[in-house]
Symmetry: C2
Subunit: 423 residues, 2 copies
């Protein structure tokens, strides 16, 4: 059924071309299509391409873009090139972009567009429709915003409402005053939460005096959600989605190394713990065999519990008022899993080494380590949340590290104790 | 600026009430507001509440809901109660819901609504506006779909376009024929990808003969994205978002245990590997001290590499054609991190035990283990992807487990070898 190729599909084609073929291909597009294609590209590819394009070509493309996307492009250019491009653009457009550049890119101000429809509350439906007919900007009208003479936000109208209203009724009499708006500095994640909560197609952005200065549309919200999901997952691995845009392996290593160094020092602490119990270990060398399983299980349980809690906090299913309930549940789940896994591993240890005592040490310490891991895995994100630190950062390496150390400590302390009792 | 309380905010209030206060509070709402509040609740809370409500109350509420949400509610009721509720509803509405119940809840058919605007291609703009004026359904009109006499999908129109067109122009002459539609059976994740790719406010759902039978709107797409992000994160931890709706700790344990059992057997394999090198270990008991650090680093590196690859595959930044490039980059990053971490740990081992040989064994085996972990961490998700298995499933416990075993094997083999050479 398609007659033309959609820009998103052209972007797909471009993506699959070898990198030296991309510029000539892009140059063959007219600037309107080029603008749409560029918006669909992955940031890495986009800036790769922009680097190769002439300032005059870029400025033509920017003329065809919504102001939020144009701002993102300019923000990614080198200072020199950005200056050239802005100079080549129409004064009004370049002023608008320079204004948008002021906002942090991860806030409402950073993702809003200044292309929106705002009409005066005093005009009537017929006049409103007449004004909309003169509007040439492409793209859908998500909502019609209603403002006073000073551009202060008063209400919102669905286009449909305008269509079905009597021609002489004034906008202020049909507008919906229950309007949710955000300030420019609001974090994009919070903006996304509001749009999702109230099922909106767009949310207006106002300044401190309630002047309407922009709109965040739902397609940008979808991008935010995808970005934040990626970020959360990366945090679990102790890395960062910025790394995808880093070409140099040294930069990538620099992002990943901090967590590794933390893990390394955790390993060194484990080493000194085991060293402390050296004589216990020398008496029963088989204790060493089960170090990995004690560590592995604790780590896994901790990650499961923390995943549930971190995600529950992020989606709002768990609130801080439920700390006790969540913790109690995780501990009981830990109890069951500790019983099952502890028994299995005790049996295996006994079968391997044929000593009941070793089986008991391995089984009981795994049982305790699992309950402790479940407790820490759920408690640490809750504590981080209360301290207003993002719990997603805590959940990965940090919990695994603490569980490893505690697990080893439990294992060798118990071995030392039981072997002493057994004489 | 708010005059009334938004249903989403009422849902917040309800969520924070003690569970026995929720039914009386909900009963105090009228059914129109009740329907909106119910849609905003978390599924767990929603079905908790529905269980307590009378069938007659539920049927009244369903009358006020879009068909997709009503279907979700009925799908969650017990068979008996669902039958009662459907009987109490208007015939047409209940038939519509029974029809929607046929579709898998995670497909386009399962998330689509049947409340959409479809107009005949032959009518003109004035007639279209006249028809829209008679439509009483609340909620925004995302797009006007244009169909032929048999309800086959021909094109799409923005409401704005209708507004600015000449009254006597026919819809077929102003509609956009470049329309992206989906089949009922398409997976919801794929539907979300298309809506996001083409920046749509809604996507039409058609059957095999291209008859328009429903529409998936962008607010449902946002829910899908949130759901899928949660799912991906849970898979990393070897658990499942279903567990949040499970009350019984036995059910939760049943979801989590499979991965733990896998981890447990991986631990047992590690135990037998170390046991195999028992004599090497007896000669140099200090080898046991560094088991945790070798394991921990391999695990961490593997997770970092796999996170990058899994997420890259999910977001489309990495394609299967780039396997070689991705792998080569991860290996080089592994090389750098192996050098840094290997040197640090070698130095620490030497300082702790004052033997150069042990330092060399620990440092070199960590270096090798890190490179292997980076390789496996990036390769395994790519292989899973090629085998058409969801790479997110692979990435967590599976990669950690294999890296643990391989790490231990490298460590003790190298120790055995170097100690032999050193005599």
């Amino acid at each position: 059924m398609k007659k033309r190729i959609h820009p998103a599909d052209i972007a797909d084609i471009l993506r699959n071309l070898p990198s030296d073929k991309r510029k000539p291909f892009f140059d063959s597009l007219d600037s309107e299509v080029g603008a749409k294609v560029l918006r669909q590209l992955d940031p890495v590819l986009e800036f790769d391409l922009l680097k190769k394009l002439d300032s005059s070509v870029i400025s033509e493309i920017l003329d065809e873009m919504p102001s939020d996307d144009a701002t993102d492009v300019v923000a990614g250019l080198s200072k020199e090139k950005a200056g050239q491009v802005l100079k080549l653009m129409a004064k009004e457009d370049s002023a608008r972009i320079q204004n948008l550049l002021k906002y942090d890119s991860k806030t409402a101000g950073g993702i809003m567009t200044t292309d929106f429809v705002a009409l005066n509350a005093e005009i009537n439906a017929e006049q409103a429709i007449h004004l909309l007919r003169q509007r040439v900007k492409p793209g859908p009208i998500h909502y019609v915003y209603v403002v006073d003479n000073e551009q202060r936000l008063l209400g919102v109208l669905m286009l449909k409402k305008l269509l079905v209203s009597e021609p002489d009724i004034r906008l202020k009499d049909i507008m919906n005053e229950d309007i949710v708006s955000v300030k420019t500095s609001l974090d994009q994640e919070e903006v996304a939460r509001l749009v999702s909560k109230y099922d909106l197609l767009a949310i207006p952005v106002v300044d401190e005096q309630n002047y309407l200065i922009g709109v965040v549309t739902v397609d940008d919200i979808i991008d935010v959600l995808k970005e934040e999901a990626t970020e959360d997952i990366f945090k679990l691995g102790g890395t960062d989605d910025e790394e995808l845009s880093k070409k140099s392996i040294f930069n990538v290593s620099r992002i990943r190394l901090p967590w590794l160094i933390v893990t390394l020092f955790e390993g060194v602490i484990c080493a000194t713990v085991i060293r402390f119990f050296q004589f216990t270990l020398e008496r029963t060398i088989a204790l060493a065999f089960f170090i990995p399983v004690i560590m592995g299980m604790g780590g896994n349980i901790g990650i499961q519990s923390s995943t549930i809690v971190v995600r529950g906090l992020a989606t709002g299913r768990i609130s801080l008022s439920q700390i006790g309930k969540v913790l109690f549940k995780e501990i009981r789940v830990g109890l069951i899993m500790g019983l099952v896994c502890g028994s299995v591993v005790a049996l295996i240890a006994y079968l391997l080494e044929k000593t009941l005592l070793l089986g008991a040490v391995v089984g009981i310490s795994m049982f305790i380590a699992i309950i402790v891991a479940a407790t820490m895995g759920s408690l640490i994100p809750l504590i981080f949340k209360r301290l207003k630190i993002d719990p997603a950062v805590a959940s990965g390496p940090f919990i695994t590290s603490s569980n490893d150390i505690v697990g080893i400590l439990i294992y060798f302390s118990l071995a030392n104790l039981l072997f002493r009792i057994a004489g």
